[in-house]
């Protein structure tokens, strides 16, 4: 185990390969993410963005290569892995709030069961976080009683309650009605401003320009291009990226 050093990336993928049967979904992926860095991942459907995101907390195991978080190699299934996952927040496209628990219970479950916080402390912190994402008044409702935008903000609070080192977002606004997209993006933008390390798969180019330090473009399981947003959107180098941008920016 390497000790943490200041210059070392927080998340590092090196030579990562992943297959789904015959399908080579991730091909020799190298990616380093520094502390406080916000990386937006874009690319056509099926290019492997979700899979990339899910390998970082090992919701998907990889076939070869190495992933380290804060200098620590991702452990195999078991106690160690659970501990590491607690440090990696994840926000899903479909929210995945615990349907049988209230909003408050959704946010306190991890802190109480994993971090061993007392119920009182966990609730105090949960209410702070719910206020921060603007759903403090919904604490005692069940997820099904909330709008999509509210649910997604609760999901962000749930992830933040674990004090994660890095947050992963897999298309957090794709399942939302247009009028709710901004309320979620605003929360994410403020998180980015506060220095959270983030990996965000999204089609929201406005967010990428506003909040990202770097845009990573994926196609066919490979990282084709990686650049700061300004460079990427104005002067993409690969034909694939040019083609992709022309499609999404015209409508």
């Amino acid at each position: 185990m390497t000790s943490r050093t200041a210059g070392e990336p927080l998340v590092r993928l090196s030579g990562v390969d992943k297959w789904f049967g015959q399908l080579h979904v991730l091909q020799d992926i190298d990616l380093s993410i520094d502390r406080g860095e916000v990386v937006v991942v874009i690319g056509p459907s099926g290019s492997g963005k979700s899979t990339l995101c899910r390998t970082i907390n090992r919701l998907e195991p990889i076939d070869s290569g190495e992933i380290t978080i804060d200098g620590q190699r991702l452990p195999e299934e078991g106690k160690e892995l659970a501990r590491l996952r607690a440090d990696v927040g994840m926000v899903f496209q479909s929210f995945n709030l615990f349907a049988h628990k209230t909003v408050l219970e959704n946010v306190t479950l991890g802190p109480v069961k994993v971090r061993k916080l007392s119920k009182g402390d966990a609730e105090r912190r949960a209410r702070e976080l719910l206020d921060r994402v603007g759903v403090g008044s919904q604490a005692d409702k069940y997820p099904a009683q909330l709008s999509g935008g509210q649910q997604q903000r609760v999901a962000i609070a749930r992830a933040l309650a674990m004090d994660p080192k890095v947050m992963l977002f897999d298309e957090p606004t794709s399942a939302l009605d247009p009028e709710m997209i901004n309320e979620v993006l605003d929360v994410m933008t403020s998180l980015a401003r506060d220095g959270m390390t983030m990996v965000v798969v999204t089609h929201e180019m406005g967010f990428a320009r506003r909040a990202a330090n770097r845009v990573v473009f994926m196609d066919g399981g490979r990282i084709v291009e990686s650049a700061d947003p300004e460079t990427f959107f104005t002067r993409p180098t690969s034909d694939r990226a040019k083609d992709f941008l022309s499609k999404i920016l015209t409508h």
């Binding site: 299934e77 659970a82 996952r85 479909s94 995945n96 049988h100 069940y142 992830a159 674990m162």
Partner: protein
């Protein structure tokens, strides 16, 4: 109905013995079935294989064969216990396979995203099941599990017949064969005895079903 009224004490004793078999088997098969279901859905391949093997074995073997193997096979291996023990053990092993499958179906009815969200906040496999998946599976599990439990209650008669003795079924058998009472009234009494177990159980199940349906 003289047969029943004359031997009321015997019937009551038989009823209580049946109840005892059923209660022990209920706790045992629910606990074991849950453990086997957890094996089947666990991320550890050897445990999955073990769970599948268990279910395949006990779901596809007649109860009488399982009981025979327990009552006469285990003593040959040097395990000596009472018939009651072997009888209940056989019933527990047999029923656990069905309990497992009912629970597993319930677990599979919970969207995969729930378990993923549980894992992603750092809950381990058992915590994820316990705090997130199983409570949500409960709603779909109760009705099929109820059928399994009631089948088990009736199967307890086979256990009695196998030599545990003294339960409702064997009481009936003794009265008709050894003491010469007429078969029909005696077994009407036996049937009533079983109904006095299964009907309240069914009613209780409905209450539970209603409860878990409301609890979100």
């Amino acid at each position: 109905m003289d047969a029943v009224t004359d031997n009321l004490a015997l019937f009551v004793e038989g009823y209580l013995t049946s109840l005892r078999i059923i209660l022990v088997a209920l706790v045992g098969s629910l606990a074991l079935g849950l453990v086997i279901a957890m094996c089947r859905v666990s991320p550890v391949p050897p445990l999955q294989k073990f769970g599948t093997f268990w279910v395949t074995t006990f779901r596809n073997t007649p109860l009488s064969v399982v009981l025979f193997a327990c009552a006469f096979g285990l003593p040959e291996l040097g395990i000596n216990r009472t018939f009651f023990f072997f009888g209940v053990l056989g019933l527990v092993l047999y029923t656990s396979a069905f309990v497992c499958e009912a629970i597993r179906a319930g677990i599979n009815s919970v969207p995969a995203g729930q378990a993923e969200a549980a894992r992603s906040i750092g809950l381990n496999f058992t915590q994820g099941l316990r705090f997130v998946v199983l409570p949500q599976a409960l709603r779909t599990v109760v009705p099929p599990l109820g059928s399994v439990v009631i089948a088990m209650m009736k199967n307890s008669a086979v256990v009695g017949a196998f030599g545990v003795g003294g339960d409702l079924w064997s009481t009936g058998a003794t009265l008709t064969s050894a003491r010469g009472y007429e078969t029909l009234p005696v077994f009407v009494g036996v049937a009533i005895g079983y109904l006095c177990i299964t009907l309240p159980a069914g009613a209780l199940l409905q209450v539970i079903e209603r409860r878990v349906a409301i609890a979100r």
